[in-house]
Symmetry: C2
Subunit: 110 residues, 2 copies
Amino acid sequence: LERQVASLEEYVRKHFPQAEYIVIKDVASGLKENRKGLRKLIDLARRRQIDAVVVAYRDRLTRFGFTYLEELFKAYGVRVVVAFQEEPKDYMQELVEDLIEIVISFADKI
Amino acid sequence: LERQVASLEEYVRKHFPQAEYIVIKDVASGLKENRKGLRKLIDLARRRQIDAVVVAYRDRLTRFGFTYLEELFKAYGVRVVVAFQEEPKDYMQELVEDLIEIVISFADKI
């Protein structure tokens, strides 16, 4: 995670040299809709305290519903920027963990 | 689907007797983020032409990211009402179809 933050900070300094920024980290899976960091991001957007959200990877913001969140931020005039297209090393592990969680959540509904 | 619309109309007439309403149907899975009906709903909300969205079931609005959509509609002053808690008869089939689609989409990422 620390390495991801470092490369994201580098990205922001390079592409938005004038921008002030804060770092928000979420360790929870992108499947969880009620993550603390995400809640904070949405609050900042609602209070018009940010102009853009820069995430390392698309799945980092959310596993599902990315377009919904993008639309939500847009409603508050906030742009969503995805910094990196390549997937990180632990990508496969995250994918498998998320898939297992999905199967469990579906099993709960039966 | 027609039966679902009929019971939803009955619900709206009972709970919001004064309300004017339009019916929007989506046949696509609640997994798809880019459904035509959903796009139309969001457009109506953005143009402040609706006050509330009434869906038959939570999963009908979206399989994942319900809270994101709820938040998006709230940003436009639109309330989301879930009419029925019980699941319809074809619920299991939908669940299985969605799960298969998820597994396929995860497999595509590998």
